[in-house]
C-alpha cells in the first residue's frame, strides 16, 4: 500500500468534509427538522397478510387534535407506485401484506396521532395467505393481483450464451446445487422520514432522505398529478441508505397527501418497528446453479436459475436479476451460460435495492458452487479459479467490455495476505470468493449522467454545486479533493452545495457504486474548464501567452519565473470581473459515461464503462461444540482503479464487509405467515464492534482509462463476495457445505453431525 506521490491530494487520507457537523451534533437529520405549524403524520397498516377490508374513520376524526384522516377514498386519482406501478399509496378494500397502508392521520402531536390510529375501525375478511414461493406458483394458488393471474411478475429474465445445456452434459465434471438466501433489513440507523409542505394547490416542497431526488421529483409529479416543475425536493442529512431510499414509497406520498389535506406541513417519522415492517428488504432468493468443467478445470458451462420472493408489490427488488446477470455471465470466463430468473408475488414484505443489487445473492451461489465443483473435480479451489480468470480486453458473454481487470492481482494478493499455504489446524478453514461489479456507472435508465457546476469566488473559495447525494459514503469529500487537486485550493476553502433539486443538476441517484465515478468525472472536467478560464485571465494580466502560464499549487506565474511573483486564484478571479465586460470564473460540466442500456430481452450490452473486481479471503475457526464460526482474519483485495480518498475507501470496504459478515452469519428477518417475528434490534442481530475480525485491505490500482484519475466505483464491492468467502471457509473447516444463509451455529452443528 504505497501512498502515491503523483498528486497533492488524490490518494491521500482526508477526513470527510461533513465530519465536523456530524461529530458535534449540528447535522440536521430528518427528525431534527422544525417547520412552523408542522403536524405529525401516522400510518395505519394492515393487521393481516391477505384480506379484504372495510374501514370506518369516523371515531378517529372526532378526536380533538386530529386534523385529517385519509384513506384511499380521499384522493381517488392518486396513481400507483412501484416498478410495475402495482402499489397504491393507500390500499383500497384489499391488503396483500402486513406492511400495507390502509389509512393515515395528521394530528397536533405524536400521541394524538397514535390515538387516532387506534380509533380507526377496520373489519377484515381473511383471504388465504400465499407466503411461500412454491405455493404461489401452484396451479390453483390464490391470486394476489389481477394483472398477474399466475402470481408471477410479467417481466422474466432469460439470458443465454452458447449452448449451456449441451456443454454441461458433455462436461468432464459437473455439479448442481440449490442455495437459499434470506430476507435482510437495511437497518439504516436513521429510520425513514419525510415531510411535505404545499404552497397553493399544486406547488410542493418535500423534505426527504431520498437517494434519488430527481427521480423522486418525477415520481411525485406523476403519482400526485401535478407538474413536476412545481415540485422541489430538499434532502436532509441522510442517516444511512444502502439502497433502501432508491425508490419513492407509499409513506412519502401519504405525507404529501396529509399536508395537502391539512394545508399545513406534515412529517412522518418511522419508529424502529415500523422501519423493520414497512421499509424494503434485500431480495430473498432460491438459486439453483450448475457448473461444468473439463479435466483441466476449464469452465465450460454455467446454468443459473433463480426464483425470487417478490413480496406483495414491486419495487426495485423486482429488477435485481438484471444485475445478477453480470456475475452469472461474466465472473470468470465461461463459454456457455444461461440465467433464468422469475419473481413471484407473495404476501411477504417486498424488497428494494440493497448494496450489491442482486449481486451478493448471485455471487454467493456461484462462488459456493465453484468450490463444490473443485471438490468433485479434485482440483484445488484456488487453482480452479486461476484457470478461469477474467482478463483485460475481454468481451464477456453479456457483451461487457472489460477494459482494466485486476482479478488475477487481487486473488494473488489475497492468497499471500491470508497465507494460503499455512497448514490448517483442526476445525480451521480457509475460503475465497471473487467478484465483478459495475464500476463505471450503470445505465439502468436512459440517462446515467450527472452535472456539476464549479464556481470560484473573489476570495478563493470554491463552491461545487451538484445534484449528487451524500449518504455517508463520502462523495462530497471526493469532489472537494478533486477540486483541491485541480485548482490548488485548500480543502477548507471548498464547499459542496447539494441536497436541493432547485439548484442541483440532474443526477440518476446514488446507486450502482456510481457517484464518485460519475460525479468525480463531472467535477474534474468542470474544474479543468475553470482552470482554463483562470489561466487565460492570468495570461492577460501578465501580458503573456496562456501557454506560457505555469499553474502550480494554486499559483499562476510566468514560465521561467518563480511562484513568489505569481498570482493566486483569488486575485485572478477578481481580475476577471473587476473590469468592464467582466466574466466570472465558473463552469458546468455534465458527464454521461460511455456505457449502454442493455436490451431487456437479451440482457446484452455494456452496462458500465468499467468493472470493479475484488477477492475476499478468510480464515475461520469453527467451535464443534457450539457451532460458532469465528473469523480469524479477513482479507479484501480490490481493484479500485485508483484510490481517491484512502480513508474513505477503507471505510466503504470495512462497512461493506461488516454488512457481508452479518448477511453470512447473523442477519435474518424471520417471517411466519407474512408476519415479521423479529422487528427490533434485539432479535434482529446486527454485527457489533466485538464481532468484527481483524481485516486487511489491499488496493490494486489498475488506472482505469475512463475513471477520474483512473478510479472505479467501489461502494458496494465490500459486501458482494463476503458471504461466499465465509461459506467456503466454513466448508473447508467442517467438510460440509451450508447452502442456506445465514450460517447459524445450529446449521453448523447439524452439518457437522451430517458428516459424522
Amino acid at each position: 500500500m504505497t501512498e502515491n506521490n503523483e498528486y497533492n491530494v488524490i490518494g491521500k487520507r482526508v477526513p470527510k468534509v461533513d465530519a465536523r457537523e456530524k461529530a458535534t451534533g449540528a447535522a440536521i437529520f430528518g427528525h431534527d427538522l422544525r417547520l412552523p405549524g408542522m403536524l405529525e403524520g401516522k400510518i395505519l397498516r394492515s393487521k393481516r397478510a391477505h384480506a379484504n377490508f372495510t374501514i370506518d374513520i369516523s371515531k378517529a376524526e372526532k378526536i380533538p387534535g386530529v386534523v385529517a384522516v385519509i384513506t384511499a377514498e380521499t384522493y381517488p386519482h392518486v396513481k400507483n407506485l412501484g416498478f410495475l406501478q402495482d402499489n397504491p399509496a393507500l390500499k383500497k378494500g384489499k391488503v396483500c401484506s402486513y406492511r400495507d397502508e390502509i389509512a393515515a392521520v395528521a394530528a397536533v402531536n405524536p400521541e394524538t396521532a397514535e390515538d387516532a390510529i387506534n380509533a380507526i375501525e377496520v373489519e377484515y375478511e381473511d383471504l388465504p395467505n400465499v407466503c411461500d414461493i412454491e405455493f404461489a406458483c401452484m396451479e390453483n394458488a390464490p391470486v394476489l393481483h389481477e394483472h398477474a393471474p399466475d402470481n408471477i411478475l410479467k417481466h422474466r429474465y432469460d439470458f443465454v450464451h452458447g449452448d449451456p445445456e449441451k456443454a454441461l452434459e458433455e462436461a468432464d465434471f459437473k455439479v448442481t446445487s440449490t442455495y437459499r438466501l434470506q430476507y435482510v433489513a437495511h437497518c439504516c440507523m436513521e429510520p425513514c422520514f419525510a415531510a411535505a409542505q404545499w404552497d397553493g394547490p399544486d406547488r410542493l416542497t418535500v423534505y426527504s432522505t431520498t437517494q434519488i431526488p430527481h427521480l423522486m421529483q418525477r415520481d411525485l409529479g406523476r403519482v400526485l398529478g401535478i407538474p413536476a416543475a412545481h415540485i422541489r425536493i430538499k434532502q436532509m442529512v441522510i442517516g444511512g441508505a444502502f439502497g433502501s431510499k432508491l425508490d419513492t414509497y407509499p409513506y412519502e406520498i401519504i405525507t404529501c397527501l396529509l399536508a395537502k389535506k391539512t394545508g399545513r406541513p406534515v412529517r412522518i417519522a418511522f419508529d424502529r418497528e415500523e422501519e423493520f415492517i414497512a421499509s424494503v428488504t434485500r431480495q430473498p432468493a432460491v438459486i439453483t446453479v450448475s457448473h461444468g468443467c473439463t479435466k483441466d478445470g476449464k469452465l465450460t458451462a454455467r446454468i443459473f436459475d433463480a426464483v425470487l420472493d417478490n413480496g406483495s408489490n414491486s419495487s426495485w427488488g423486482a429488477t435485481t436479476p438484471h444485475i445478477m446477470a453480470n456475475p452469472v455471465s461474466s465472473l470468470y470466463k465461461v463459454e456457455n451460460v444461461r440465467m433464468k430468473a422469475k419473481m413471484v408475488y407473495t404476501n411477504n414484505a417486498y424488497a428494494g435495492a440493497f448494496r450489491g443489487y442482486g449481486n451478493p445473492q448471485a455471487t454467493f451461489a456461484i462462488e459456493s458452487n465453484l468450490d463444490e465443483l473443485a471438490k468433485v473435480a479434485g482440483i484445488d479451489p484456488l487453482e480452479l479459479r486461476r484457470r478461469n480468470f477474467n482478463e483485460p480486453g475481454e468481451t464477456t458473454p453479456q457483451d461487457l467490455k472489460i477494459t482494466t481487470c485486476g482479478m488475477k492481482e487481487c486473488t494473488e494478493a489475497a492468497v499471500e495476505a491470508i497465507d494460503y499455504d499455512k497448514p490448517l489446524e483442526e476445525w480451521e478453514g480457509v475460503g475465497f470468493a471473487n467478484m465483478i461489479h459495475v464500476g463505471g456507472g450503470a445505465r439502468i435508465y436512459l440517462s446515467d449522467g450527472s452535472g456539476v457546476t464549479v464556481k470560484v469566488d473573489d476570495f478563493g473559495r470554491v463552491v461545487i454545486i451538484t445534484g449528487a447525494t451524500e449518504i455517508g459514503q463520502g462523495t462530497d469529500t471526493a469532489m472537494a479533493m478533486i477540486a483541491s487537486e485541480e485548482l490548488g485550493v485548500p480543502l477548507e476553502n471548498i464547499s459542496i452545495l447539494n441536497s436541493d433539486t432547485d439548484y442541483g443538476m440532474w443526477d440518476a441517484g446514488v446507486h450502482a457504486s456510481r457517484t464518485t465515478f460519475i460525479v468525480g468525472n463531472a467535477t474534474l472536467r468542470a474544474c479543468r474548464m475553470v482552470k482554463e478560464q483562470l489561466i487565460e485571465a492570468a495570461a492577460k494580466k501578465m501580458k503573456i501567452e496562456p501557454g506560457k502560464v505555469v499553474f502550480e499549487k494554486g499559483v499562476f506565474y510566468p514560465e521561467g519565473g518563480s511562484p513568489e511573483d505569481g498570482m493566486k486564484v483569488d486575485k485572478v478571479a477578481r481580475s476577471m470581473h473587476f473590469r468592464r465586460q467582466g466574466k466570472h470564473p465558473m463552469a458546468t460540466y455534465y458527464y454521461d459515461p460511455p456505457n449502454e442500456l442493455q436490451d431487456m430481452k437479451t440482457l446484452k450490452g455494456n452496462v458500465s464503462s468499467t468493472y470493479a473486481y475484488g477477492t475476499h479471503a478468510c480464515r475461520v475457526k469453527v467451535d464443534p461444540e457450539t457451532g460458532k464460526v469465528k473469523i480469524l482474519k479477513f482479507v479484501a483485495a480490490h481493484d479500485v482503479g485508483k484510490v481517491i480518498n484512502r480513508q474513505g475507501i477503507e471505510g466503504q470496504l470495512h462497512g461493506g464487509i461488516a454488512q457481508g459478515i452479518g448477511y453470512a452469519l447473523m442477519e435474518d428477518m424471520v417471517f411466519e405467515d407474512g408476519k415479521l417475528l423479529n422487528p427490533n434490534l434485539l432479535d434482529y442481530k446486527l454485527v457489533m464492534a466485538r464481532d468484527m475480525p481483524p481485516m486487511e485491505l489491499i488496493f490494486i490500482e489498475t488506472d482505469d482509462p475512463e475513471g477520474p484519475y483512473g478510479a472505479k466505483g467501489i461502494g458496494e464491492a465490500g459486501l458482494i463476495p463476503t458471504a461466499a468467502a465465509i461459506a467456503n471457509a466454513v466448508e473447508s473447516a467442517i467438510g460440509a457445505r451450508i447452502r442456506d444463509l445465514p450460517i447459524t451455529p445450529e446449521k453448523v452443528l447439524a452439518a457437522i453431525r451430517g458428516v459424522k
Partner: protein
C-alpha cells in the same frame, strides 16, 4: 402538548443550563432533550435501548436516554453531544479523533458513539482494542464496520494521556 394523565413539572440541567417544563409521566429523556431543550444532536435510532444512538450522561454516567423517563432526571445533570466541546467551537479530543480517523460516515450513530467513548475512556483511560470493542457493545453502527471507530477511541486515549502526562 396534550397528553394523557397529569403533567409534572420538572427541572433538568442540560449542559449547565436548567430547563423547566411540565411533562407527562411517560415522556422519555430523549424527548425532553430534543423537544424541550431543543438540542437535536442526540439521535433516536430505536427508542428501545438497543442501539445507543441516544447516549448521554446522566449525573456523569452514560445512559440510553430513550429508556430513561424524563421525570427520573428531575433535578439531575445531563450532558449531551452539544455539551462536551470547549468554548469557541473547540472540540473534545474524542470528537477530533472521530473526525481525523474517519470514524464517521452517515453520522447518525456518531453523537451516541462519541458520548459512549468518552464515558468508556473515563473508566478505562488506557484500553486495549478488545476492551474498546467491548466498551462500545451497546452502540450500533451500520456504516463503518467499527474499525475506524475503534481506531479513533484508541487515538483519543493516546492523545488524552499524552496531555495528562505533559501537564504533570
Amino acid at each position: 402538548m396534550t397528553a394523557k394523565g397529569e403533567m409534572i413539572s420538572i427541572t433538568v440541567t442540560i449542559n449547565g443550563l436548567p430547563y423547566t417544563a411540565a411533562v407527562s409521566a411517560t415522556m422519555n429523556l430523549t424527548d425532553f432533550i430534543r423537544e424541550v431543550a431543543n438540542l437535536t444532536g442526540t439521535n433516536v435510532g430505536c427508542g428501545e435501548g438497543e442501539c445507543g444512538a441516544c447516549t448521554v450522561f446522566l449525573d456523569g454516567s452514560s445512559v440510553n436516554s430513550c429508556i430513561v423517563l424524563a421525570v427520573d432526571a428531575d433535578g439531575k445533570e445531563v450532558t449531551t453531544i452539544e455539551g462536551i466541546g470547549g468554548p469557541n467551537g473547540d472540540l473534545h479530543p474524542v470528537q477530533q479523533a472521530f473526525i481525523d480517523c474517519g470514524a464517521i460516515q452517515c453520522g447518525f450513530c456518531t453523537p451516541g458513539m462519541i458520548m459512549q467513548a468518552i464515558w468508556f475512556l473515563k473508566q478505562n483511560p488506557d484500553p486495549t482494542p478488545e476492551e474498546v470493542r467491548a466498551g462500545l457493545e451497546g452502540n450500533l453502527c451500520r456504516c463503518t464496520g467499527y474499525e475506524k471507530i475503534v481506531d479513533a477511541v484508541l487515538t483519543a486515549a493516546q492523545q488524552m494521556n499524552a496531555v495528562e502526562t505533559s501537564v504533570r
